[in-house]
């Protein structure tokens, strides 16, 4: 180990000079993003010509200030290691000193965009269990230095390492076994089977964003649109045009999700390294995540309808998270086969993983289905009443489509909702058109609550809410005696357990 630490981390270390470039780039990105609506407003307002020179000089001034700010920020930012702490000094106007003990650091992740790759540096993120304020981010650091820093922190995190684990940790630095690699055909598969509705949602959000920004700059969008209202009404009446727009929307969504998939998951690789997992992926922005087994609270894998046909899954290894950074701490891999999933589970849980194969799966009560059917029916009836009053009989088709889909979804969801318990694990299955499985070791549960509504009590049912450090697991509508027994059982396991949940 000693011969490797040629760099003395106890001395204040600055980031690589490339950081100046990256800070500037990030600042420009923020500025440009905020100025786009202003430009659109100017263009539509038609005053771009008369104020062109003025705008140009303002931009130059803002750009200059941002560049100077980046340079100051770079020179004010340095870090060093002291015993088992990392200390970061930063701040242009207000100085901040962060002192973070190694054991609080959940994972250290690398990220590379085009600039990083050009200069052979990485962006380094340290996730902590605490609040978002305590996150450490090094904008640019030499790759070798970053790797050494990571292994130094991760290997010194254990307070009293035994000889055995010391050996293991040294091995960890270089030896990593590939679990999974996403080939190009698989990548395309993932793109094609992605959730296109979500991409469609992005389009809608984008339009709302533009709309909102234009309103902010005093353009009355509603008034402009009202001029076209007769056209819209015509469009809504014509089923053909509506269908055409729906198809167009899906085609655009489809391409957005393909592009998005390629950007995010190009050459995704998953490795086993020491007692943790490492994943890296991305076309231009290469991101690397590392997660230690002990930090992983829950494992969830799922497939949507299309992924079900293509027989691929995505898996999330969920780490303990604070509320602020709940999204960041899930470690996601896509395009996996069921064999890949079993392999990951085997790595993570060893021999205990076999329990999952022989789990005793229980269904939830039929009330779960009734409740869903009841909601859909009420919604459909209300919509129908409104239609009867407004006499727009064409809209009944939409209500009918909604109702049929909702009923189908309720049945599928009810059929797939299952929970299972084994000696060490608790698992909940779900999904509507797809499938999902969540798996947790019982001792990682934080607290358990039991709820019941008056309607549930009439049928002697209750729901269980299982709180974990990486989110909530719910077992809805099961007989209350079983719910109580299950709760007692889980609480008993937690209280009996001596193992550290993190």
């Amino acid at each position: 180990m000693a011969k490797k630490s040629s760099h003395d981390f106890s001395q204040p270390t600055r980031q690589s000079y490339v950081a100046i470039l990256i800070i500037t780039y990030n600042l420009y990105k923020v500025i440009v993003r905020n100025l786009i609506p202003l430009f659109i407003a100017f263009l539509i307002g038609g005053s771009a010509k008369s104020k062109g020179g003025y705008i140009f000089y303002s931009i130059m001034v803002i750009a200059g200030i941002a560049a100077i700010y980046s340079i100051i920020a770079f020179f004010k930012y340095y870090f060093y290691l002291k015993e088992d702490h990392i200390i970061v000094n930063k701040g242009v106007l207000r100085k901040t000193k962060l002192e973070i003990p190694f054991e609080r650091i959940q994972s250290i992740n690398f990220e590379q965009n085009v600039i990083h790759r050009l200069f052979g540096v990485v962006k380094l993120n340290m996730d902590t269990a605490g609040s978002a304020k305590e996150e450490v981010q090094l904008n640019a650091l030499n790759i070798d230095l970053a790797k050494r820093l990571r292994s130094h922190i991760l290997s010194n995190r254990v307070i009293a390492p035994t000889n055995e684990s010391q050996e293991e940790l040294q091995v960890e630095e270089d030896v990593r076994e590939e679990i999974f690699r996403l080939s190009i055909p698989q990548l395309i598969k993932v793109g094609v089977t992605a959730n296109h509705l979500r991409s469609g949602g992005l389009i809608i959000i984008f339009f709302f964003y533009i709309y909102d920004s234009l309103e902010d700059f005093g353009l009355n969008v509603v008034e402009k649109l009202e001029e076209y209202t007769p056209v819209f009404q015509q469009v809504a009446r014509s089923l053909f045009i509506v269908l055409f727009l729906v198809v167009l929307f899906f085609i655009v969504s489809f391409f957005i999700s393909i592009i998005n998939t390629i950007l995010r998951y190009y050459n995704l690789r998953m490795f086993r390294r020491g007692d943790g997992f490492v994943i890296d992926s991305g076309l231009f922005n290469r991101k690397q995540y590392a997660a230690k087994d002990s930090k992983i609270q829950m494992v969830g894998w799922s497939q949507n309808l299309l992924q079900g046909l293509a027989r691929i899954y995505s898996i999330g290894l969920k780490q303990a998270s604070s509320i602020e950074n709940s999204l960041k701490s899930t470690f996601v891999a896509v395009g996996l086969s069921s064999q890949n999933i079993s392999k990951i589970i085997d790595y993570l849980y060893g021999i205990r993983a076999e329990e999952f194969q022989s789990m005793d799966w229980q269904s939830v009560d039929r009330y779960y289905l009734f409740r869903r059917l009841y909601y859909s029916t009420v919604a459909a009836i209300i919509a129908t009443i409104i239609i009867v009053f407004s006499q727009d009989w064409m809209d009944l088709i939409y209500v009918l489509v909604f109702f049929v889909v909702a009923v189908m979804a309720s049945f599928l969801n009810y059929k797939k909702k299952k929970y299972g318990l084994s000696e060490h694990f608790l698992s909940v299955k779900g999904g509507t058109f797809g499938h999902s499985v969540e798996l947790i070791e019982q001792y990682k549960i934080q607290s358990v609550s039991l709820t019941s509504t008056p309607f549930q009590r009439r049928r002697e049912l209750a729901s269980l809410r299982i709180m974990t450090a990486s989110g909530l697991l719910q077992i809805p509508d099961i007989p209350s005696t079983i719910a109580l027994r299950l709760k007692n059982r889980l609480i008993y396991t937690i209280e009996k357990s001596q193992a550290d949940w993190m």
């Binding site: 607290s447 709820t451 937690i494 209280e495």
Partner: protein
């Protein structure tokens, strides 16, 4: 229905047979006072809406929210008074239990060996009635936190000491 052959489930400590400790009676006053304040704000808002009539609506649409709010206020008072009877907590050797809810019932159990920290809070109304509330935080996040309101500050302190001692004891083992 069999869950696990290893542990006989009937031998597990059962939560349903616990003896619960009720909250202090004066906490009902706190709840009602809070209810009165929030109701006044709501009624004031909806009354102002009724008199100002900001939109060109038919008068009936201005009366409707008023009635709905009044109905809700009445309902919320019933719920508060009834619900108070169901709020209770229990301390066991290795965990703490809190339950609440008249119609929508809720029981949460937090094992001491998962407690992150314990906190005692007191709002202005609670101070008037010499009451405190105890919050027990786990890593389970917002929904996983346990709160016992309406207890004497001394009780809150005792509970806190007890839990903190238990969590430390667990670590030493």
């Amino acid at each position: 229905m069999s869950f696990n052959p290893q542990v006989e489930i009937t031998e597990l400590p059962d939560i349903s047979t616990l003896v619960y400790q009720k909250l202090e009676d004066s906490y009902l006053n706190v709840l009602i006072l809070r209810r009165i304040i929030s109701s006044l704000i709501m009624v004031a808002g909806v009354t102002a809406f009724y008199f100002i009539q900001p939109f060109k609506w038919h008068p009936i649409w201005y009366k409707l929210p008023f009635f709905l709010v009044m109905l809700y206020v009445l309902w919320s008072f019933i719920k508060t008074i009834k619900g108070f009877q169901y709020k209770a907590y229990a301390l066991r050797e290795k965990d703490i239990v809190y339950k609440s809810g008249w119609l929508w019932r809720y029981t949460i159990t937090t094992p001491f060996n998962r407690v992150q920290h314990v906190q005692i809070d007191q709002g202005p109304i609670e101070r008037k009635f010499n009451l405190s509330r105890l919050k027990v935080f786990t890593a389970g996040g917002g929904t996983g936190d346990l709160m016992i309101p309406g207890i004497r500050p001394e009780t809150a302190n005792e509970l806190k000491e007890f839990i903190v001692k238990k969590t430390q004891h667990g670590e030493e083992e």
